[in-house]
Each structure stands twice: as structure tokens, then as C-alpha cells.
């Protein structure tokens, strides 16, 4: 019986590993984070940005899903260029398609690329990509202007000021989506953003690090290896399922290269 149990756990582990390997090797870019609307891989933005972007993103998607051209999604991604990487290594269209942003091809991807600087990540390039159907609306042709007007690459900007300007771009686009697509006026302000920045600076609702419980469980001297293997197997399956769930947060949209890029 004990042998059967071990075999069962081993089979579960093998299935989990196969699941992870087959789900990872297809994608050129990392999967979106659990937050989906903000994927801060450069670790450049604060908890305030996450709070604003995720809550506005969920509202936009949820509130419009039943409307014509509904289910718009605006996703923000940041990446750190390292080990000789250049901006050319990031294909915004490929990333957009992998993350399947926006239902009815009504997605918008904002991609910010950073380099490691003396005081943290420094923004070097901003790109925006719009889904196939977004280009039917007037605001889509202003996406490049939004980045220009924010003067993101002005000399001497600190992390807060850069983030605030990114948020300005985000809300300008959001306003355009509501106005042109859903005929709704969005009222927004960033007047209190400095306060939120201070308060929520290091907060994240979507911490993806492994929990300490998981590690301490594996290192526990009081449990036999059968139980530990079982725990690993179940965790692998849950992570795999979670990965599948996170991928499904995308509305299924695609894009064809409609977008703009601006460099420092």
C-alpha cells in the first residue's frame, strides 16, 4: 500500500514537471503576473501604480464586457534590459499576442524598458501597441502623442516623477478608451499621487515569491519524504493550474503591429 502511495506521488510529480516544462517552452516572454494589468518585471513601479492600474483595469474590463467592442484591457509591462539586451530584443506584438490582451481585439499594451542605473532602474524606451480593433477609434492615433506629451525622458527625472508621468499616459489612454469606445466621460486626477506613492510604495497584492511555509514544510525534520513529495506534487499542479488561470485573464485579443515607440 505504501509502495502504491509513493508510486502515485511520483506519477503526480512527473505529471507536474511535464506540465510545467510543456507550458513554459512555448512562450518567448514570461507569462503575465497574477495582477495581469501590471507586470512590473523591472521592479520599477510602486504599489501605488499597481493599485491604480489593476483596479482601473478590472473596472474597464468588467464594466464594458457586455457592450459593443467591450472587454477592453490596458496592460502595463516593464522589463529590465540586462546582459547585453537591447530594446530590439523585445517585440511588443509578440508579447501582446502571447498575453492575449483585450476581448474583441480591444487590448492596449504599454511596454516600458529600463536599464540598471545608479539609483535604480532608468527608463530608456516606451512602446505602445494597440489591438486589431482599437485602430478603428480616433484615440489610437494619438497614442504616440500621449508619450510625447508626458516628456518621459526629460533630464533629471527621479523614480517618482517618471512613474507619475507613466500614470499620466495610462490615464490619458484610459480616458480615450472610455470616451471614444464607450461614450463615457472618465474623470481622473493625479493630484494626490504623491501621497499614494508614499503610502503604498512597497505594497503589493500580488507577491509571487514562494511562501516561507512551503520552504519550511519541505525542510521539516518531522515529516517523511512521501508526504513531502506529495506536497511538492500538489503544489506543482496548483502552480500549473494557477499559470493557466493567469493566462486566461487575457481577453483573447491579438494585434498586428499598430503602435508607437519612443526612445530616451
Amino acid at each position: 500500500m505504501h509502495r502504491l502511495k509513493s508510486l502515485f506521488f511520483l506519477a503526480l510529480i512527473a505529471a507536474g514537471i511535464v506540465w510545467l516544462v510543456t507550458s513554459c517552452d512555448k512562450d518567448e516572454y514570461p507569462r503575465p503576473t497574477a495582477a495581469f494589468y501590471l507586470n512590473d518585471y523591472a521592479d520599477a513601479l510602486s504599489g501605488a501604480a499597481e493599485l491604480y492600474i489593476v483596479s482601473e483595469g478590472e473596472d474597464l474590463y468588467g464594466d464594458t464586457l457586455e457592450e459593443e467592442d467591450g472587454g477592453a484591457q490596458i496592460v502595463v509591462a516593464t522589463f529590465l534590459l540586462e546582459d547585453g539586451e537591447t530594446a530590439a530584443d523585445y517585440d511588443k506584438t509578440e508579447l501582446f499576442r502571447q498575453w492575449k490582451i483585450g476581448a474583441n481585439d480591444m487590448g492596449i499594451l504599454l511596454l516600458f524598458l529600463y536599464e540598471e542605473g545608479e539609483f535604480g532602474p532608468e527608463l530608456v524606451e516606451a512602446q505602445v501597441e494597440a489591438g486589431y480593433h482599437v485602430r478603428a477609434y480616433a484615440f489610437a492615433y494619438d497614442l504616440g502623442d500621449y508619450i510625447d506629451d508626458a516628456t518621459l525622458f526629460e533630464e533629471g527625472l527621479d523614480a517618482f516623477e517618471t512613474e507619475k508621468r507613466i500614470m499620466w499616459i495610462y490615464f490619458s489612454i484610459l480616458e480615450g478608451v472610455y470616451r471614444d469606445v464607450y461614450d463615457t466621460e472618465l474623470i481622473w486626477t493625479l493630484d494626490d499621487y504623491d501621497v499614494d506613492y508614499e503610502v503604498y510604495y512597497s505594497d503589493s497584492m500580488y507577491d509571487t515569491d514562494l511562501p516561507m511555509d512551503f520552504i519550511s514544510y519541505l525542510l521539516s525534520p518531522y515529516l517523511d519524504w512521501g508526504s513531502k513529495l506529495g506536497y511538492i506534487a500538489v503544489s506543482l499542479l496548483v502552480f500549473g493550474l494557477a499559470g493557466g488561470f493567469v493566462r486566461n485573464l487575457g481577453g483573447g485579443g491579438s494585434s498586428g503591429g499598430f503602435g508607437f515607440r519612443r526612445r530616451r
Partner: protein
């Protein structure tokens, strides 16, 4: 005897049904993949047309380009001429040549013509809109070329496999499509560095 005949007829009937179903699905599949190629080709041509218009707009929006950057100006006008010829001929090969010429002309323009530092050049307000239009078109063309080449791979692979290789020749489908490549033997397509 009758039983043997019935079995033989049933086998022939099954064979005919399977063959007919296979031909129908094979034919439909070939039509789908063929039209994917045509659709992607059309997408590229639409964006090349947009870039052609923007290139003309740039020439009109800059005063002094022809006098101070003769080579760049000539290259742009030549690229525009090639595009007109390609539209007239309707040959995809000519359109690829026109695409390559446009890419070269724009790359040269961006590399050599620095508006901000050149007192001999003046631009009107529309100039920056045309640059944005070219950047926009370039992004769309790059993706459209990639999608086209993927559609061509799908089609070319499909018609080389059995039984579609039979259907393709019997039903008059093209045996292959050419890839959208610039320069002889080039796998890569040059990109414009904005």
C-alpha cells in the same frame, strides 16, 4: 457468394465515401491556407501604400531636401516610382522590390537628414505627423510580412504532404508561394531604426 459481393460493395462504398470526404476537406483546407496567404499579402500592400503616401508627404513637408540631400531625395523619389510600377504590374516580386527600396530610402533619410541641426532645411507642422505615419506603417508592415511568411510556410508545407500534394495538382492549386524576402537569399528583413 452474395455475401462476398455485399462485403466487396460495402468496402468500395466506404472507400468512395472516405475518398470524397478526404478530397472535400483537403480542398477546403487548401482554399483556407491559400486565402490566408492572399489576405496577408493584401495586408502588406495596404501598409506599403500608406508608407508610400507618407514618403510623398515628407518630401512636400521639407523645404531644401532636394538641394542639400540630393542622394536621399533621389532615393526617395526612386522608391516611390518603384511602388507605382509595382502597382501597375501587379507582380508580388515588384512589390517586394518596392518595399525594399522604401526601407532603404527611409533608413538613409533617418540616418543622414537631421532636421534639428540643419539650418538649410525647414519643415512644416505636418512633417512629424508623416514621420509618425511611417513609423506606424513600418510596425504594421513588419508584422504583416512575418504573418505572410508564416502563412506561406503553412501553405507550402501543406501542399507537399500526402494526400494534399495530389489534390493540389489535380485541382489546380499553386505548388508554392514565394516568401517575402528582401535581397537574394536573405532570410532576414531589414528593419528601420527610428
Amino acid at each position: 457468394m452474395k455475401r462476398a459481393l455485399a462485403i466487396a460493395l460495402a468496402c468500395i462504398g466506404i472507400f468512395i465515401v472516405v475518398t470524397v470526404v478526404s478530397v472535400i476537406t483537403g480542398y477546403n483546407s487548401l482554399v483556407d491556407t491559400q486565402y490566408d496567404v492572399y489576405e496577408m499579402e493584401s495586408d502588406i500592400e495596404i501598409e506599403i501604400a500608406a508608407r508610400h503616401v507618407a514618403l510623398g508627404g515628407i518630401i512636400d513637408a521639407i523645404t531644401g531636401l532636394q538641394e542639400h540631400y540630393v542622394e536621399v531625395y533621389t532615393r526617395i523619389t526612386a522608391a516611390r516610382g518603384l511602388y507605382d510600377d509595382a502597382v501597375a504590374s501587379g507582380d508580388p516580386g515588384d512589390m517586394i522590390a518596392a518595399d525594399a527600396a522604401q526601407v532603404q530610402a527611409i533608413s538613409d533619410f533617418l540616418a543622414y537628414v537631421v532636421i534639428e541641426d540643419n539650418l538649410d532645411l525647414t519643415v512644416d507642422a505636418a512633417y512629424y505627423d508623416y514621420i509618425d505615419a511611417i513609423q506606424l506603417a513600418e510596425g504594421l508592415i513588419a508584422v504583416a510580412r512575418q504573418d505572410y511568411n508564416e502563412a506561406v510556410t503553412t501553405y507550402n508545407t501543406s501542399v507537399r504532404k500526402f494526400p494534399k500534394i495530389l489534390y493540389a495538382s489535380l485541382l489546380g492549386f499553386p505548388t508554392s508561394f514565394d516568401y517575402w524576402r528582401m535581397g537574394e537569399g536573405d532570410e532576414d528583413i531589414p528593419t528601420i531604426n527610428f
